[in-house]
Symmetry: C2
Subunit: 345 residues, 2 copies
C-alpha cells in the first residue's frame, strides 16, 4: 500500500485533486496554487489560502519567540496572497494548545499577530481554540482581494519568458542553520549573523512589490512565493511535464551576509540559494521585452530584483549554467517535503 513517505506532500495533493471535483463556476483556481481564486455573487475577485504550522515540524520554541512566531505565521500567509498579486484583508486563526501552554506565551503570540495585522492592515476576525495533546499548532486562513485580470497564477509561463526573483533567497535557511547550530556560542553575533537569523525569524512578505506588479502593465506570465526553496518553487512555474528553465549562476543574488558566513563556515552558498526555504521572496516570469522595465518599477519600493534565468521548452529540466559556461541539471526535488523529513527545520 502507498505510504505517506513515498507519496510526499505533492503526491498527496495530486491524489486529492484527482478525487475532488470542481463544480462551481465561481471557483477560478482551486487546489494547487498559492491561493484558491473565486468570485462573490457580485463578481469581486477573492483569494483564499490556509497554512498550518506545527511545533517541532515547522518551528521550534527554543529558537523563535512567541511574538516572532505570531508575526511570522501571519507573514507566511500574507506572502501567499502577495504571490497572486492580491491584497489581504481578513484572517481566521485556529490554535491547538497543549494544556501546559503558559498563558503568557499566548499573550505574546497574540501581540505578535496583532502587530502583523496592523502592519498589513488585516482584520483578525475570529478563529477556534482547542486542546492539542502534545504539540502546539497554528492554522491561519487568510482572505484577500485582487484586481480583475491581474491575478498571477503558477501556470502561464511560456518558453523565452524571463525568470526574476526579489531579494536574496537562501538567507532564511542559513539563518535557521545558525540558530540551530550546536556551536552557536562560538559564533560571534556579528552584523551578518544577526541579518541572517532575522531573515529567518522575521521575514517580510513582498506585499508592496506584488501590488506594484499588479498595478503595472508589465506582462507577468506566472508568479509564486519562495517558501519551499528557489528550485522547488521554480518547478511549479514550469508547468509540470511541459516546460523547463535555465538559471544563470552568475546572476543569482547573494547577500553579503550569506557569502561571508558560508565562506567562514565552509558551507556551499549555492546550496542555500537554490534550495533554502521560507524566504517569502517573489519568483515570477515576465515577457522578455518587459524585463528591463522591472528595475525602474522596483526602484520605487527600494527592492532589489534579479533576472536569474529563462523558461525553456525542455520538460522538467532545470539547468544551472555555471559562471565558467558549464551546465548541470538541478534536481527539482531538493526542496521541502514534510513527509520525507528533509525539511531543514
Amino acid at each position: 500500500m502507498a505510504d505517506l513517505k513515498k507519496l510526499g506532500e505533492f503526491g498527496l495533493i495530486d491524489r486529492f485533486r484527482s478525487r475532488l471535483h470542481t463544480r462551481s463556476p465561481r471557483v477560478k483556481t482551486g487546489i494547487g496554487d498559492d491561493c484558491a481564486v473565486f468570485t462573490t455573487q457580485t463578481g469581486t475577485i477573492q483569494l483564499i489560502s490556509t497554512d498550518a504550522l506545527v511545533e517541532s515540524v515547522h518551528f521550534d520554541l527554543k529558537t523563535i519567540s512567541a511574538a516572532q512566531l505570531g508575526r511570522k505565521v501571519l507573514a507566511a500567509n500574507v506572502s501567499d496572497i502577495a504571490a497572486m498579486g492580491g491584497k489581504p484583508y481578513l484572517a481566521m486563526i485556529s490554535l491547538g494548545l497543549p494544556q501546559s501552554t503558559p498563558v503568557k506565551f499566548l499573550d505574546e503570540l497574540y501581540t505578535g499577530l496583532e502587530t502583523a495585522c496592523q502592519a498589513y492592515r488585516i482584520e483578525l476576525a475570529g478563529g477556534d481554540t482547542v486542546a492539542s495533546p502534545k504539540h502546539l499548532f497554528i492554522n491561519i486562513c487568510i482572505l484577500g482581494e485582487a484586481r480583475r485580470n491581474r491575478v498571477f497564477t503558477r501556470t502561464g509561463a511560456q518558453p523565452g519568458d524571463q525568470i526574476l526573483v526579489t531579494g536574496t533567497p537562501g538567507d532564511s535557511s542559513l539563518g535557521l542553520r545558525l540558530l540551530q547550530s550546536k556551536k552557536k556560542k562560538s559564533i560571534a553575533l556579528t552584523k551578518h549573523v544577526r541579518h541572517l537569523t532575522q531573515r529567518h525569524l522575521e521575514p517580510s512578505p513582498r506585499l508592496d512589490e506584488a501590488r506594484l506588479l499588479a498595478r503595472s502593465k508589465l506582462r507577468l506570465t506566472s508568479m509564486i512565493d519562495v517558501s519551499d526553496g528557489l528550485v522547488q518553487d521554480l518547478t511549479h512555474l514550469c508547468t509540470p511535464g511541459r516546460l523547463g528553465a535555465v538559471l544563470y549562476e552568475a546572476h543569482l543574488p547573494r547577500s553579503q551576509a550569506l557569502e561571508s558566513i558560508c565562506k567562514k563556515m565552509g558551507y556551499s552558498s549555492l546550496d542555500y540559494i537554490l534550495s533554502g526555504g521560507e524566504d517569502y521572496e517573489l519568483l515570477f516570469t515576465l515577457k522578455k521585452e518587459d524585463a528591463k522595465k522591472i528595475r525602474r518599477l522596483f526602484l520605487k519600493a527600494h527592492t532589489p530584483v534579479s533576472l536569474i534565468g529563462e523558461v525553456t521548452s525542455s520538460p522538467g529540466k532545470i539547468i544551472l549554467e555555471g559562471e565558467n559556461g558549464g551546465r548541470r541539471n538541478l534536481k527539482p526535488s531538493v526542496g521541502f517535503n514534510h513527509f520525507k523529513g528533509n525539511h531543514r527545520q
Copy 2:
C-alpha cells in the same frame, strides 16, 4: 500566573478579544459568534468560520470511520454557517498527519469530505497538508453568504422572546456514550441504539431550516447551533450579564430512542438533553407573536421544532421549571470546555 485550565476556552476567547482591535468597518461581527460577518468591496454579506478537530480530543478513530469523520467535520462547519442564516459555498481544509497515517485512511477521509461537499454544494477549493508528530488534526475554514439584514447573531434577544429548538438535543452525546461503553458488546444493536450512534457519527446540520428562517419574515432575534450543549449555548443567547431564561421541562423535546435507552441503562435523560453536545440543532429566539407561525414554516422541511422556554431579564439565570411546577437553577457551565477536560469525548 493564569493557566489554561482556570481560564477555559471562553476565558481565553475573552482575553484575545480584548487584545485585538477591530479596525475595518467591513467586519460587522468579529470574534465570539458562530461566524465572523464581513462585506466584500461591493457589499455582499460574507460569513466565515473555522473549526479545528484534534484526534483523541474531538474524535477517536476507534469509534468513527475516516469517511464519517470527513462528513462530520464538514457538517459541523456547515452548521456554523446555518446558525447565522447563511448558505455555505467554499471550504479550505488543513490536515496535520502523523507519518504513520495509512493512505487508505486519507482516501476514505476525502471521500467523506467529497460526499458532504456534494450534499451541501460546497467547493473544497484548497488547503494545506502537513506532518504532525503524534496526533491527526483537521482544520476547516468555511465561507458562506447571507442576505442583507438576515444575518442571525447571538446577540439581539429581549426579555419575553420565545426560545425554540429544532430536533431532539441529547441524542448525539448519548450516542457517543454508547459508542464508548465498555459493555458495548452487551448492548443489543437495536433500532434505538443505531439511531443514537448515527446521530453522533453522522449529524445533519439544519441548513435547509436556517434558509427557511432567513427567507421568512419571522422576527428572529438571535440564533446559535447546539454544539456545546443546550444550556451552555443558551447562555450565549442571553447576552452575558444582561439576560436569563426559563426552560419548561415538560416542553423539552425527547427522542423515543433517548427515553428508552436512558430508562434501560439508568441514565438521566434530562442531563443528556440539557448538556449533551454536537447535536447541530438550531437554538433561536423569536418575538412571542411569531412563535405560532413557526410550526407551519417548519412543516415544509418536515423538521420538528419545540418552544422550550422564554428569555427573562434575570441576568445569567437559567431556570428549569419542572413538570411539577418546581424551579431550579441550571449551571451554565455544564457544557463543553476543552481545557477543563469535561468534554464528554
